[in-house]
């Protein structure tokens, strides 16, 4: 491994502004040094939880802070921890999900590279609260810098009795290890991640039983997104009240958001939940050209039109608008972007990344792409627009995992908000954005890499 110094990978660009809480310490704290992290107040949260609060009070603290999962689901973290704590099992496991399922989302990678001890502290707090004796940090295998720094952080923390056996001289023990995971969209789904951890195909399994009851090797397992754990560490050291200081009432705190697409300065920002979308776009230097739509939530999200930019970036308002938080992706599209083609892109992406376990997903995404191809080629069948909606509804109804349930989102929302573009393509073969030239040459599905 190369000595990477203290800088982040060039893939990560952190933009100034916003409400920096987790990002504030990146670049200030030396990611390779435990002392530096401790000087900045690190491991105070773990110390407070282990020595003062105890597991129940720690969960209560997280509940009081109103922390919700930052991986897109928005499930209250405290409820998950309570369920895992209440589950019976000889050993329990906590898994930090840093698989970064959508490669465009930069938040987890920035945290793992810029402040690995923060993630580790959050993981240990979660392990302490749920009573877990094993903790696994699952990282994408191509994030070599992150893996290297996390491993070093674990070794340092163990030497300082902050992780491993008998943490801080108490009887709480938690062995942490880094697991290098696969590179695939579905690998970020929690049950797929657990399957891959067991050496099986990374495919989701049906729930219930939830992993908090029976997860890795049958043990109650808490799977948390990396960012959620970082927030949990922050709550443990600063308290619930301070955490609630910013953010909305239903979802306090901040969220790491990656802004990209047609903006002046794409990159990673941290904003309080409830910030209007227009402000988030402005943090990235504003849109280049006239903004037409904003795709929020990546391939599982949806498109909001330009006049909806005052929508608050929060779980419920976005959900009501047909989008979602996802892993914090905000993609800005300008008037030169064809919405039908964009919808096709996201669906094609979902089709290529489909694990193939659930038939409605494997075949449904493909049929949706084919239908959009017919519309783009101006040769639709009479009921194609109806078919898009019907098929999407069935996929959502029969979904095995959330990736499948939300895969039609970008298509459905663009269909609702930009029906003219669909109609112009279908009836006249005309692209209102002027982006699609001639007939499509791209094959329906490019062969998977290496096959």
């Amino acid at each position: 491994m190369t000595d990477s110094g203290t800088s982040l990978s060039p893939q990560i660009r952190i933009l100034p502004g916003g409400d920096q809480r987790l990002l504030a310490e990146i670049g200030v704290v030396d990611p390779n040094s435990l002392d530096s992290y401790r000087k900045a107040g690190g491991y105070a949260g773990l110390r407070r939880a282990v020595e003062k609060l105890g597991p129940e009070a720690t969960i209560d603290e997280v509940a009081a802070a109103g922390l919700r999962g930052r991986g897109g689901g928005g499930y209250p973290t405290a409820d998950k921890w309570r369920a895992a704590r209440a589950a019976s099992g000889d050993s329990k496991v906590v898994v930090a999900n840093l698989i970064g399922a959508d490669p465009t989302a930069l938040g987890d990678r920035a945290l793992a590279e810029g402040n690995p001890h923060l993630l580790l502290e959050g993981l240990l707090v979660a392990a302490f609260a749920t009573g877990a004796s094993d903790a696994i940090i699952a990282v994408r295998r191509d994030w070599t810098v992150a893996i290297e720094r996390l491993r070093a952080a674990i070794a340092e923390a163990e030497a300082a009795h902050l992780a491993g056996y008998l943490v801080l001289g108490t009887d709480f023990s938690c062995v942490v290890r880094v697991w290098e995971g696969a590179v695939a969209l579905v690998a970020g789904e929690e049950t797929a991640l657990l399957a891959a951890l067991a050496g099986d195909r990374g495919m989701p399994v049906i729930r219930p039983p939830y992993p908090t009851e029976r997860g890795l090797g049958g043990a109650p397992t808490t799977v948390q997104n990396g960012e959620t754990l970082a927030h949990a560490a922050w709550i443990a050291s600063h308290g619930a009240k301070k955490f609630r200081a910013i953010g909305s009432k239903e979802a306090p705190g901040t969220k790491l958001v990656t802004v990209y697409g047609r903006v002046a300065q794409p990159g990673l920002v941290e904003v309080a939940l409830g910030t209007p979308l227009s402000e988030i776009v402005a943090l990235a230097g504003g849109g280049t050209g006239t903004t037409k739509a904003v795709f929020v939530g990546g391939p599982g999200g949806g498109a909001l039109s330009a006049d909806q930019l005052d929508t608050r970036y929060d779980y419920e308002p976005l959900h009501a608008a047909g989008a979602g938080i996802g892993l914090g992706q905000v993609l800005v599209a300008d008037t030169d972007t064809c919405m039908v083609d964009s919808a096709r892109f996201f669906l094609d992406y979902s089709a290529r990344e489909a694990c193939g376990k659930a038939v409605p997903c494997r075949i449904g995404t493909k049929r949706l792409v084919e239908t959009l191809d017919r519309i783009l080629a101006a040769s639709p069948r009479p009921n194609d627009l109806l078919l898009l909606r019907e098929l999407s509804r069935k996929m959502t109804d029969t979904a095995l995992c959330h990736l499948e349930a939300r895969a039609p989102g970008p298509m459905l929302t663009t269909l609702d908000r930009f029906p003219d573009e669909y109609r112009a393509h279908a009836e006249r073969g005309e692209c209102l954005a002027g982006a699609c030239k001639g007939s499509r040459v791209a094959p329906l599905l490019a062969p998977l890499a290496g096959l």
């Binding site: 465009t104 992406y349 062969p447």
Partner: protein, 280 residues
């Protein structure tokens, strides 16, 4: 209102009725029971008198399976290797079948010369044992093999399957879904990122330009064998978009001109030796 024991009595009534009913033996095949329309009997592969599978990998069962749940690999009766694939990419597997029905030999794998590449078995065993042969280390083992060979040779996967006592299907599935290369790439591997960030930053233009320049489609190798072009969603270029990756290095953000230049320069550089030798 429910009376306790009524359900048991109801059940026992059926038992009693069957007990005293006359016993009948149906004279199959003279008289046949009516079965559901789609009843196909018990599904099994049949064997010849020497104990060999009679399945010749004709893919017919895979083609009629309504939920497309069947896939296979192996040699057909004339010794052609049938390409294997994940059940997920079912469109692809129809290709050999289409060939077969046209009376043509089944399509060979893209790089027929290297599909059975010899591997350094003691080294691989060492790697596997180094991880204690735990199934959770599969991805790490695959990574080590890919680092050395540039892809996962089938023999390495077979060896891993044997050594770790894990089903071949499980090993192969984990490799396929884990984003590993299953076929070797000749020359420099140019991967163009097709993630959302790269695409909306103009990654399409990069792909179009390179396709025209090199005269190949994604998945193909140039005639002189110096460049293999492919696309992937997983370059994870982030702020570097639009980006492309050559072998292991990510370049970005690139204009079309810069992309052409970078590929042209790398094309001249020697390809690192992959097969059989450890990479320094």
């Amino acid at each position: 209102m429910t009376i306790p024991g009524l359900g048991i009595l109801k059940g026992l009534r059926q038992t009693a009725r069957n007990y005293w009913a006359p016993k009948v033996t149906n004279q199959y095949p003279e008289s046949r029971p009516t079965m559901p329309d789609r009843w196909r009997g018990r599904l099994d592969l049949i064997y010849d008198p020497f104990g060999e599978h009679k399945c010749e990998v004709c893919f017919q069962c895979a083609q009629v399976c309504p939920v497309e749940a069947i896939d296979m690999s192996g040699f057909d009766s004339s010794g052609n290797r049938i390409r294997y694939g994940l059940p997920e990419i079912y469109d692809e597997r129809k290709d050999p079948n289409a060939y077969r029905r046209a009376g043509l030999p089944a399509m060979p794998m893209r790089n027929a010369a290297r599909w059975d590449e010899e591997i350094d078995t003691p080294w691989l065993r060492g790697v596997i044992d180094g991880f204690g042969g735990k199934p959770e280390a599969l991805v790490a083992i695959f990574s080590a093999v890919e680092e050395r060979y540039g892809y996962l040779p089938e023999r390495a996967l077979r060896e891993a399957s044997e050594r770790m006592s894990i089903h071949w299907a499980q090993i192969f599935g984990a490799a396929g879904l884990g984003g590993f290369r299953l076929l070797p790439a000749d020359g420099h591997l140019v991967t163009i990122c097709t993630c959302a960030a790269c695409r909306f930053a103009g990654g399409d233009a990069l792909l179009t330009a390179l396709r025209a320049d090199l005269g190949i489609e994604p998945g193909e190798t140039t005639a002189d064998g110096t460049i293999t072009l492919e696309t992937s969603d997983e370059v994870a270029a982030g702020a570097l978009s639009p980006a492309l990756r050559i072998d292991t290095l990510v370049y970005g953000p690139l204009t079309v001109e810069q992309g052409r230049h970078v590929v042209g320069e790398r094309r001249k550089a020697p390809v690192r030796a992959r097969s059989g030798q450890p990479v320094a």
